[in-house]
């Protein structure tokens, strides 16, 4: 029994039982003019999105699964147009997998919550170093056999959750004091964090091996055969079509799909809405009751964890970590992938990661392109220059990124979108003008309960007894 009862004034009008139960519907414009849909079909991306969204759920699976399988088979199919000459295509795809994971994680922080993190490489490094410190024979804290108790066969898989947990903790430790800062200040502090992690790795010689790095890091021992005594994930698995790069790419793909699903769940929940609200207007979000600090911290922790997974994959793949691989320039490159692909769009940032990884490798070792002789390796050396220019051009012509975000944050609001679609379908014979014409007086025709002309009726209608029933739950 709730104590809240309507104000006395409610009772004054309460005798009126003739409340109008039905509210008028918006009037649809008459048919017979130019189609309104044309405006919706802006670019190829929008058209693709419309097509995809219009498909039924089974059809989406029917297309999505073969597409993912096709992506997974890319390094095996070795399509001549796509393949790289200077490096093994499988290795390129493995690197793409790691960058895609990083882009997904960084996208949570930068794209969703709008927190500019310039030290993301720090989390990547912590993930990689955690794995290396716990499994490399060079490290004093090695837990693998023969010194330790953990079998080499399981070391990578067993240490992975530890690496993720420690990276998440580091996100918490970095975030708690710094997330009270905003904008540029936050960016500078995170930049500092990235450098601190690298300098620690470089200077804690006893634990991290200093500039020498740590060798013989654990990796999953699977598919051991006579030709491959160390399994398919070993760096020794080279040459054949199914080299270690391909296997690592497939492993990354599994983690990418898991992160996409989890991050997608968050996006379409209270958490994702809070992130977008924080990005849009942090003060307003806070005043509307959103615990902004808590959700910013969560964004940091989730972003960090995904970065940690990627770091652990990296350490396992190259079996060797040194501080120079975690330079601040990597942070910039990760950020470049996110901005290039489209901040806030999960699939966009994956495309961004692909571009960042693939393009330099495409040129590496290439001596001619379309019959024109080029020095591809030289071009690849200038990748930062080209990415810088590309970013500038993008910021001028398409600041939202290659695949910009289109938020659909409400999982259960679909029926409304259906209604919007149906209304639009009815209008499709009417022109855009007709659409605008109806939208303008919307508050008058639809919202009659408060519409000016209906003022009197509105006050009468409030007299029903039902509000009390509804409240006394």
């Amino acid at each position: 029994m709730s104590t809240s009862t309507p104000a006395e004034s409610n009772g004054a009008a309460g005798t009126n039982g003739a409340a109008q139960p039905v509210r008028p519907r918006p009037e649809l414009p008459p048919a017979g003019q130019t189609p309104v849909r044309q405006r919706a079909h802006g670019g190829a991306g929008d058209r693709l999105r419309l097509w995809w969204d219009a498909l039924a759920r089974p059809a989406q699976w029917g297309i999505g699964v073969p597409f993912v399988v096709f992506i997974a088979l890319l390094p095996i199919l070795n399509i001549p147009v796509l393949t790289t000459v200077g490096t093994n295509f499988g290795a390129v795809m493995a690197q793409f997998g790691m960058y895609a994971l990083i882009a997904i994680g960084l996208n949570v922080v930068v794209g969703q919550a709008g927190l500019l993190d310039l030290g993301y490489v720090g989390f990547y490094a912590i993930g990689a170093y955690t794995l290396a410190i716990l499994t490399s024979p060079d490290s004093p804290w090695n837990v693998t056999q023969p010194e330790g108790w953990l079998s080499d066969d399981w070391a990578w898989l067993a240490i992975l959750p530890v690496a993720v947990a420690i990276t998440a903790m580091s996100g918490l430790v970095l975030g708690s004091p710094t997330l009270r800062l905003r904008g540029d200040y936050l960016a500078i502090v995170t930049l500092g964090f990235g450098e601190i992690v690298r300098l620690l790795a470089d200077n804690l010689d006893e634990i991290t091996g200093g500039g020498q790095g740590l060798k013989s890091v654990a990796y999953p021992r699977l598919g051991v055969t006579e030709e491959l005594p160390n399994g398919v994930f070993s760096a020794g698995n080279v040459g054949s079509t199914l080299n270690s790069g391909v296997w690592w790419f497939w492993l990354s793909l599994v983690f990418i799909i898991i992160s996409l699903m989890l991050v997608g769940n968050l996006e379409r929940s209270r958490v994702g809405r809070a992130w977008v609200a924080i990005r849009e207007d942090e003060d307003a979000a806070e005043i509307m009751g959103v615990p902004t600090f808590k959700f910013k911290l969560w964004a940091f922790v989730i972003g960090a964890s995904i970065g940690g997974v990627s770091g652990a994959i990296y350490a396992g793949q190259v079996q060797f970590v040194i501080p120079t691989n975690f330079n601040i320039i990597n942070s910039v490159l990760f950020l470049c992938a996110v901005v290039l692909g489209g901040q806030g769009n999960k699939l966009g940032v994956i495309l961004g990661a692909f571009i960042i990884v693939y393009l330099p490798n495409f040129f590496l070792g290439r001596t001619s392109l379309f019959g024109i002789p080029i020095d591809g390796s030289e071009i690849a050396n200038y990748k930062y220059l080209f990415f810088g220019v590309a970013l500038m051009v993008l910021m001028i012509f398409r600041p939202q990124g290659l695949i910009p975000v289109r938020q659909k944050l409400l999982t259960y609001g679909r029926e409304l979108y259906v209604a919007a679609r149906r209304t639009l379908a009815k209008m499709s014979d009417g022109g855009p003008q007709a659409a605008y014409a109806t939208s303008a007086p919307a508050s008058g025709t639809v919202g009659t309960r408060s519409g000016g002309a209906d003022g009197a009726a509105t006050t009468e209608r409030t007299g029903d007894d039902e509000p009390t029933d509804g409240r006394n739950r």
Binding site: R25, A54, G289, L416, Y417, R449
Partner: protein, 340 residues
Amino acid sequence: MSNDPGGMGAGGEVGDAHLSLSADAGAPMAEKYLPGAGLDEPVLVDVTEVRPELADSALVDAIVAADRTVRTEVGEPLLRMEDVSVVFGGLTALDSVSFDIRRGEILGLIGPNGAGKTTAFNAMTGVYRPTKGLVRFDGQVLGKAKRNQITRLGIARTFQNIRLFNEMTALENVVVGTDARHRTSVPGALLRTRRHRQEERDAIDRSMAILEFVGVGARATEKARNLSYGEQRRLEIARALATEPKLLCLDEPAAGFNPAEKEALMDLIRHIRDDGYTVLLIEHDMRLVRGVTDRIVVLEFGKVIAEGTPEDVTADPKVIAAYLGVPDEELAEGDADAPA
């Protein structure tokens, strides 16, 4: 929503008004949402087509009415400003201000520019901490509560200059307002637990009803920035209502409105009060304030100079001198076109 203490036991209360809403949503779910939604298209949704229940305004009122326990009885002071002072450096913005907002009333807070109205407002909603004095709300001292905690306690506000989440749809804006009433957090959302899904569904149903309540239901899937000015103002009120406030504070909600829109807004504010809310209204427009409020508090130079019914206050010579600056006879014509 669905404040059953058991949390997961939502199934036991199926007879509940808003739960029945989600039960009916099955049929159109099969079809996918789309074309136009999310694109820069003006799209009108015929809400009653999807949610026929929302055509029943009594049910809408029932859903919108806050589902919270208010300790204060109707007519008793819900919020008390006790001797509150706010000092910025050498400037005393509020000087020992004391007044009550009683539960179930519409209180107008007026005063000339710079009188301290918005400061008083900010002191209540936690944007500023009072330098001296206490703000007591529903029997509780607000003290050092954070801004989001104050909203959770039950004070919601709108902004003088509209501050919506522009890239989100109207419906999403309102659902953000329900955040304060969610009880599952990140782990629940990550794993999509049953309680989380139920909360999401309830939040959306209630938000849709609130949108209908304030009269922008047809624009639910439109981005906030594409709404007209009047619709945006209403959407701000809807977002504040979604937090299930005990006290709704409106900071100049009629700024920039024409007389017809003001009239409609007055109806809406009355309707909100009649639905069980307490309303604090800061406004310049005397006609609106006089037409809609039950009591008025007048501030000048950070001090309360008058308090009482609209008739008493507008007849008070001190108020006329300080705020209106015109003789009584000219008041009637003068205020209609007072600056907004």
